[in-house]
Every structure is written in C-alpha cells, then in structure tokens.
Symmetry: C2
C-alpha cells in the first residue's frame, strides 16, 4: 500500500496538516520544518492521493479531451499539444474519440465531464444548443469551432483562404472549386465563408462542390465532380481529402499541377510526402492544443477574471508542387 499523509507526519514528527501545507503551500510553513517534511515524504515515496484531495477541494487535476476521430492525423497532433501542456501544468488527460458521432459526443461530454475539472472539445460536431447546455455544468473550451461566448481556440481560416486564393490568382487561375467537409463541421463553414470573401475580392469564380466525408475517400469521391466542373484549381477542406483528390485525378489522367492545381488545409505529415507534394494551408495543431489547455486552466483558476476567452491562431500557406501556373485555355 502507498504511504499516507499520516505516516509522513509521524516520520517527520509533525501533524498531517503541516505535511499538507508543506506540500501545497510551502510559504506558510517554517523552512526547517518544511525541509524535514519533504525529506520524510521523499524517504517514504509519498505522493498525495489525488482522489482524496479531489474529494475535498472539488478539483480532480484532470482534464478531458474529446475528438471526433483519431484516425484523422489532424487530431493526434492536437492531442500531442494538449498532452504536453497539460503535463507541464500537472494535469492528466482523459481522451475520448467519438467516431464522428454527435450523439456519442454529447454522451461522452456528460460522462467525462463529471470526472474532470474541465473539458476540451476538439472540432465538436454537436448542435450549438446542446453544447450551450453542457456549458452550464462544465467548464469547457472548444477547439476549431466558435459561437456565442463559449471559450474557444480557432484558426484564422479567413486569412488562410485569402492566402490560398492570392496564390492561385498569382498563378493565373480564374476559377476555383471548394470541396467541403462534413455538414456538422464549423470550420468547413468558416473556411467557405473566407473563401467566398477572398474569391469575391479577387474577382475569381468559386464553384462549391458540397459536403464530403473528411477522409481520403471523400476527396476521391469529389474528384470527378471537380473535373466535370471545368475549374483549373481546387481547395479541399483538409489534406486528407486533398490527397484523395490527387489520387483520383491521377487515375483519371489529370496532371497536377499542369491541368489542375490542388490545395489542402492542415499540413499533416503526409502532405509533404505525396507526389506531387501538396500545397497546403498550415495550421499549428499542437499549438492549438497547448492554447486550449492554457485557456482552460485560466478559466479554472480565475473563473471570472478571464478577459478574453477567444484565441485565434495564424495560418500559413505552404507552397509545394501541387499548385502551378494555370494553363491558358
């Protein structure tokens, strides 16, 4: 059995409260005593029982992280960021994957919410009202989604789309297609909004190809529509879909970038490894994870004192081989 605070107290010749203080509020205890206590704790390999502590403080030292699908490389990157930052702040991370199912998502938020101090929802698919409800009973931070005053970390999609469109325009493209992600995805809508603004400003024509699953296969499925639409360039909701596009375009004999320029979003590892390498709007995924933890912690520690519970992270176009000069036609 692990050592308890009483044993440490006995070993150090002090009372349990002093041990507790020496560990949690070192300033409030005499340096000599503190030293003695710390030594005793060390000797016994003592670590406070977090459950017991939580019972009284009402805080668990845990945070929950809910993602739609770990199989999409975007999410593991965010998770790594959350992980790393949480560990620094001495929080442990509960992870749950919803398999893109909004119902499961709500259930998980409910369940996990009881075991943690706060929750990070990454690209949540649930309806706004449900998340608003959940907000009442749990401290939560959204990543990659924003509405109302729910604390959130998002990427500057509008600027990302602006960069992508500027790039295509510079290459001489006049018509660009958008391959949208899931209907439930806020960022898909937000990116389309940015794209609308950017193409309008640039005087380019935008063809919207609707919603597709955010996977490789989604991109494959979209490719033929894109070819048929007669555009010379296409931006996909994410890199996975852009890679699917690349694959199907090649199978159809459409050369990239000669016949078609392709841009993805996310900058997943694989985007640099495809042939041709994928031009993409790079998102600092791990940093988003870290920012979400920072935000959550500040919310937890000064519930009212948080000035601005909204972070927006910059985006950066990475030009690679999948975009090129438009063919004159």
């Amino acid at each position: 059995m692990r050592a308890t605070i009483r044993e440490v107290a006995r070993e150090a010749g002090v009372s349990p409260s002093t041990v507790s203080r020496a560990l949690s509020m070192p300033e409030m205890v005499n340096p000599t005593t503190r030293e003695r206590v710390l030594r005793a704790a060390q000797r016994l390999g003592y670590a406070p029982n977090r459950a017991a502590r939580g019972l009284i403080t009402g805080r668990t030292g845990n945070i929950g992280l809910i993602v739609p699908d770990l199989a999409n490389p975007f999410f593991p990157s965010v998770v790594k960021g959350v992980q790393a930052r949480a560990r620094e702040a001495d929080y442990a991370v509960f992870l749950a994957d919803t398999d893109e199912d909004p119902t499961a998502e709500v259930g998980l938020i409910r369940v996990l919410g009881k075991q943690v101090d706060g929750l990070i929802l990454c690209s949540p698919r649930a309806r706004e009202e449900e998340i608003r409800d959940l907000c009442e009973s749990t401290t939560l931070v959204m990543v990659n989604r924003r509405f109302g005053s729910v604390p959130s970390v998002v990427f500057d999609n509008v600027d990302g789309m602006r960069q992508a469109v500027a790039h295509l325009q510079a290459l001489g493209h006049r018509r660009v297609a958008w391959v949208g992600g899931p209907r439930t995805s806020w960022s898909s809508r937000d990116r389309l909004r940015g794209l609308r603004a950017a193409t309008a400003a640039a005087g380019m024509e935008l063809v919207v190809a609707g919603h597709f699953p955010p996977h490789f296969e989604g991109g494959v499925a979209a490719a033929d529509l894109i070819i048929a639409s007669g555009v010379t360039s296409v931006i996909a909701y994410n890199d996975l879909m852009a890679l699917g596009l690349l694959g199907r375009l090649r199978d159809r004999g459409v050369q990239v970038p000669e016949d078609m320029s392709v841009i993805g979003i996310d900058d997943i590892q694989m985007s640099a490894m495809s042939a041709p390498a994928l031009t993409t709007v790079s998102l600092s995924k791990a940093q988003a994870g870290r920012a979400a933890v920072d935000l959550l912690i500040s919310l937890l520690e000064q519930p009212e004192g948080v000035r601005n519970a909204r972070r927006e992270l910059p985006t950066q176009l990475l030009v690679r081989a999948s975009t090129g000069v438009a063919q004159t036609n």
Copy 2:
C-alpha cells in the same frame, strides 16, 4: 452542485446504504425499494462520485495508456481500440505520449500509475529491468512487446515475415533487404528474427540495413543503402518507413515494383493511398487495443485467476502494387 447519495436517500425515503446497494448490488435489495431508489436517482440526475467511491474501494475506474508517438498512425489506431473497449467496460482512459523518450516513459508510468487501476504500455521503449520494477507496483499490460511473464498482446511477427518472404519468393526474388526500426523497439528485433528464419527456410539472401527512426524520413534515409546493396526487394519495419523508401526510390529513378519490390508492416491508412499502393503486413491495431483492455480487466478482477496473460494476434499480408515479379538479371 451535483446530487449526493444522501439526497437520493432522502428523496427515496431510505438510507444512504440502501441507495448504494441498489446501485452496486441490485440483487441484495428488495425489488420495490430498488425501483423507488432508481427512480429517485433518475429524478435527481444522480451519478456516484467516482473519487469518493475510489477512496474506499481503492479502485479508480481509470486505466492509463502510454504510447511512444501519436504522430505515427499506428498508435492512434491502437488508442481507438483501447478507447472503445474501455468505454464499454465503463473505464475512462488516461493517455500519455512519450515522444519516443524512454526516460519520459518511465516517469509517466510512475506518475500515471498512481491514478489508475492499471496501465497499458504500447510499444514501450524502456529497459526490461525498469518495466519489471514498475510491474511490482502497478498492474500493467504491454502491447507490441514481450518478455518474461509480463502480460502482453503481440502480433505474430514470425508468421507475418513468413508470408512476406513467401510472397517475394513466389515473385522470383532471391535477395531481400530489411530496414530496421529503433534499437529500442522489441518488435523490430522480433520481426528481424522472423525474417531470418523465413529467408533461411526459403534459401533467400537477407541484407540487414540497420536501425532507422520509425518515420517517413527513416525510410528516406535508408533508401540509398538499399539501392547500393543490390537487392531486388525490401521489407521495412513499418509502413511509414516503407512510404519513405517509395518516395526516395522514385526520386532516384528506381521504379517500384519493376526495379524494386517494397513491403511495409502495419497497414496504416496511407499505405493504400500511395502510388504505387504499398504491399504490407496488416496488423489489427484496434483489436490489439481491445485485447489489451480485456487482458487488463481480467487481471484487475481476478488477479490470480488468469491462466494465460499472453495474446498473440494474427497478421495478414496485403498484396498491393508495390511488389512485383523480380527482374531477371
């Protein structure tokens, strides 16, 4: 504030103990009473406080999962399996990523170990003796590694390598290279062992190209050695590396599969999407995760009663376009 067991008790007109029993040991309570209690609990939205329960039962209902690097798609798949099975069994999962650092790994096992009922170590990189030590104080299950009598879930690497070699032999190859993973990886050693046996049995020559980081870049780095070695076929420690090989081979003008056949291991999503698609030894990653949870739970629930704490999962060669008939030369 959430409802407590006393409020439910009052609402139902019974004592707290009865409520506790009605929930945890339904058989031991009068059906009528039970019904009344359940209704009251329902009405108040009661859910037991797991910390308080844990304090007394000594069990947290949590399991920990430690992986070397979520950025390698192999691991998210395992995590999904662990996740899913744990949720079914009403366990929550703590996740930690060590960034391939054995020291961090040991530290994390220590820390996480105190907050969970048991730990799953996926492809642990620590030294055997350290893990053996840790075993004393924590219930743990390893995935993708095996030694001593530590409970483990592994893949049948030997048979996987046999299938791969048989495939290459059938295609007329006589010389095959092995691109190894990290020195700290047990499965890398185990696969090499299987490969040695298989090539010897098949009368094929094996060229071992040493250890490389288990990433795309590791494969890129290995490619030139492989070309120089004069083999006609190569098996890589994992798909990521095999994809790196594919990329560098193309850049060097080596045609796959005409000039070189390439086989990976893992069957990550991307392996099916590359051009050419990658022949690979498929591992049921999610199933390994589920099996690990099952094993852990049985260990937890009948500490002594577990007959065999070792699972070995089958492997299956998936033939795709990256392997072809050997050029006569």
